[in-house]
Symmetry: C3
Subunit: 142 residues, 3 copies
């Protein structure tokens, strides 16, 4: 699939909880990891999303925040995915950090180099990837 | 106008569809391109937005995703703007890519250099700029 | 606190205005600056947010837009925080710009170097940091 988003998760719709305007869609990724997205009811209809259906979840790396694994903080963000740092690619200001989740999925965050140092993000370290559900774009094969 | 957002679209309000809390505002850009924004009803009132009124739509480049033009994928994002690559400015990790839309508007995305290569984003190539409507900020002259 | 977000504001919940699905949470920062976040009612409950309670507001630097202080533009974004530029750290494409708010809090934005020049963002200059309330993540001690 050719999209610029570094995070493209293939999965199946695990559940859809409709609200008045939006719906909460839980996506079960291969390997058992889970991701929650909020999309409009219009999008549920136009994409034909239904439980069990194939879906792609897209998240750009600048939309992912990282948190140290031992940070005693409860967050409002729906997606808090604990994983192990697999790769760190540094530029002069920013760095791309990839975590591997327990089910095998990789999630990549764009953070500052300063954050990489502060959080001790070296390969093998544990960390938590945080993504607001409103930031996740869903897709289906056309 | 002096704002840091690389994308500043001048247009007119084409339609406002109010919900319980938010409203969907469709903006007609010069040249006929269209952009959809979700803002609160409070903002509709405080900005005095009404059909036909002048409005500016602001989108930061890191909030724009790019997709290959031939990608057979339907997305939940409301704004999917097909255009032609006009400029690519590369840094060590990221690149700014500008697409020209059919009506003439330019839209700029900040993506990784890796994505530029994968999607073949060279001047003249077609691509689709994807923006969630919740990511668009609207403004009016004070 | 170890999170990658450059903006971590300690404060207290000043008010909570519940809607059908989401609530608007106003956070009073030390020194009197204020920040508004939209989070789900579920998050209000699971974090145990209540007026007067301690809370952390998190915002990644790429989510912050800057506007010139004299720009005659009214925006739909809820958070428009006027401050004075304290630091500019430039990379080849982007720059991190920190503003100090009247109450003393610092807010950092990731913008392009081009924007730094256009807006005249040198130390001592005034500018406005713009953040959509839907982009703010709230946290409480676990």
């Amino acid at each position: 699939m050719k999209v610029s988003a570094r995070n493209r998760f293939n999965g199946r719709v695990a559940s859809i909880v409709p609200g008045a305007v939006n719906a909460l869609v839980e996506v079960a990724l291969a390997g058992g990891d889970r991701l929650v997205a909020v999309v409009t009811l219009d999008s549920i209809a136009s994409l034909g999303l239904a439980e069990g259906g194939e879906v792609v979840a897209l998240v750009k790396a600048p939309w992912v925040m990282l948190m140290a694994a031992d940070e005693p903080l409860k967050l409002s963000a729906r997606n808090q995915l604990r994983g192990v740092v697999r790769a760190v690619q540094s530029g002069p200001v920013n760095a791309e950090v990839s975590l591997q989740l327990p089910g095998g999925s990789l999630i990549t965050a764009l953070v500052t180099r300063e954050a990489v140092a502060e959080l001790g993000l070296t390969p093998g370290a544990e960390a938590v990837a945080v993504v607001k559900s409103s930031q996740v774009i869903l897709g289906v094969p056309a």
